[in-house]
């Protein structure tokens, strides 16, 4: 018994450096978030002078934020764009991943390789042609202008294809014997079984869409259609920046992505590792 206790305390002592390292690392990770929250409650002068504790200026900062920028409008826009993009992207990419992995075709690997090539092209290189296309289609300042270039990404198709390798082919055979159509198999068998992958893909797509800045900046020239990252950038404009108000805006911008991530955290981890239930 004593020996066991001794062993346990030795193990615990050996873990001390790890704990110290982890505590320091956690502090480094969490501190910017903590500062963001405290800064949202302070005046800009307090923030500039390095105050890192809570102040009493939160309500004032919030009022200033509402007066300076259309917060609710931008929040609504961001939700609309992000949800629409996530739903469409998940549907299209999962359908593509399903097809690429679970159906036999001689040309599919060549086609997939061609698709992966698109991943190598930097987004900035396609920015001007894309802008011209969207402009000519009359989709500037619209939801479609925002989401169309991102509704099918090679990365998402690859993710769904790779994870589809764990989808049991026997289920497809059984469903076919039961008389289900191929479309029915996708909706009734594939989608429920691949839900972890869907969750991971949803988190990634939603975050990308929510945080997108460059493309919206190109395609949205209308204050009515601006997103939250654009609102944040507008708050940081000019010669004099109100840091308290800016941090209040950043806080509002961060909450939805945090909620989505925390809600889908477990499924995200499962989906990334490719597990299937």
């Amino acid at each position: 018994m004593t020996k066991k206790k001794k062993n346990r305390s030795m193990v615990q002592r050996r873990l001390i450096p790890s704990y110290i390292f982890l505590i320091i690392w956690s502090f480094i990770s969490v501190f910017p978030l903590f500062w963001m929250i405290t800064a949202a409650t302070n005046t800009t002068v307090d923030v500039a002078r390095g105050k890192v504790w809570f102040g009493t200026y939160a309500v004032e900062n919030f009022k200033n934020l509402l007066a300076a920028q259309p917060l609710w409008k931008s929040m609504g826009n961001s939700f609309l764009y992000s949800i629409a993009q996530t739903l469409l992207c998940l549907f299209i990419c999962s359908l593509a991943g399903f097809g690429f992995e679970l159906y036999a075709d001689k040309a599919k690997d060549r086609l997939f390789a061609f698709l992966l090539l698109a991943m190598m092209i930097p987004g900035v290189a396609t920015m001007i042609p894309l802008f011209t296309m969207i402009s000519k289609m009359g989709l500037l300042n619209s939801v479609w202008g925002f989401i169309l270039p991102q509704v099918a990404t090679p990365f998402m198709i690859m993710m769904f294809r790779n994870n589809s390798r764990n989808f049991p082919p026997a289920i497809m055979e059984a469903a076919r014997i039961d008389g289900q159509t191929e479309v029915g198999i996708f909706f009734k068998q594939y989608m429920p079984i691949m839900r972890s992958t869907y969750a991971a893909a949803a988190v990634i797509t939603f975050m990308n869409a929510w945080n997108a800045y460059l493309w919206p900046k190109v395609v949205i020239t209308d204050n009515r259609a601006q997103t939250m990252p654009m609102l944040i950038a507008n708050l940081a404009s000019g010669y004099t920046i109100d840091y308290g108000m800016l941090m209040m805006g950043v806080l509002f911008c961060s909450i939805p992505t945090m909620v989505v991530f925390f809600v889908l955290q477990k499924q995200f981890a499962e989906g990334i590792t490719g597990s299937v239930k």
Binding site: W72, L80, L140, T221, G238, Y239
Partner: protein, 442 residues
Amino acid sequence: MKRRLIALLTAGVLSVSMIPMNVFADDADAPTADVSSEDENTLSVYAWDANFNIPALEAAEADYQKNVNPDFKLDIITQSGSSDVENAVTLAGQSSDYSNLPDIVLFQDHYFQQFYVSYPDAWLDLADADIDWDDFGAEKLSYSTIDDVHFGVPVDNGTAIMAYRTDLLEEAGYSIDDMVGCTWDQFIEIGEAVYEKTGKYLLCMDGSGNDLPYMMLQAEGESQFTDGEPTFATNEKYIAIIKDIVEMIQKNVLYLGNDWSDYTDQAIIGDMVAGVLNGNWIIPTMEQATENSGKWEITSLPTLEGGEGYASNGGSSLYITGNCSKPELAADFLAKTFGAGSTETYDAALKNGGVITCSISAGESDVYQEGVDFFNGQPIYADIVEMGANVPVIEQSDYHYQARQYVGTAIQNLVAAGEPTDESVAAALQDAQDQLSFEMAG
């Protein structure tokens, strides 16, 4: 799992319920850059500072509505910075599709010529506009005039101010009178005394965007460029200026911030300095340190040989874009507000946004003659307009910001190398000049 699903569903329902509330709400009055959908009395404009140039545009809109056209409407589309406007013009020019541009843009003076050369179709000239150009300082107009044709109507005045904390000068045994027209050598001497007595620097600047060399050289009436080519290393005054800057840093007279935020937030708002030299748009930043109200005064710049120096930094003008759907209305709006020296526009722009006019006649209004408490009751706005008229016209370059970057790096290297000599400064400037020439050669 169940709880998470419920949370997810709730979040989803909440998100979706927000969409119709905000996105599809009737919002016909919100600004848009879609010039094709505007009515005949509406113009759109890109601007970027809600506390500075946007109130000036609002003032002009109200002026035009009151005195010319009651149905007029100016849609001001907020951008996150001047670079957004530059990017929008670049995108339009590169794609030869100008539909993303509004009728008018507020554009940084230093950048205009470069953008005009690259994208000439992006701009409409003001040759037919009824504007008295003599009412503006020649230096300000030199940025927006190409081959004697005017393209821009000046908005804010970039005249440089040299502001001093009179209480700290006194503590060190000096007064602001000692600073007016002093030489840079005397400035360094006084700066050392101020730092010794008060622990504050007599000057500060953003190290990543160091505008000091440009302003100090302009105060001497000279440019970093001759006939379009950089002449850093062969200009003796420039060598003397850079040597002074390095010396100031080494003797704790000048605090060189790591970046813009360090310069404004730590040095100026953080109360580290007894002096500020920059375009007068720096004033709202200075005024944030409210505890120093009444302790500041402004004057002109020191010079190498003594005598008052005048310079300018920054500032912007309004330009009509190639996408403008109503060029006559745009030109008339600019001509009757900012271009006419309208006291209604400029007085409100000053009161609401702190924008100081470039128009000599507008600077004579009563509002401009009022003393400013923060500056010890000094009528700084009238003083700045007066100083603006004295800023020497010097050669401008499309490579202004690149020059700033290379010379800024040279200064950092010289500071690290120890005590500067004429030779070491000339060699560092030669390096900077060679790098810039290489870039200019493409």
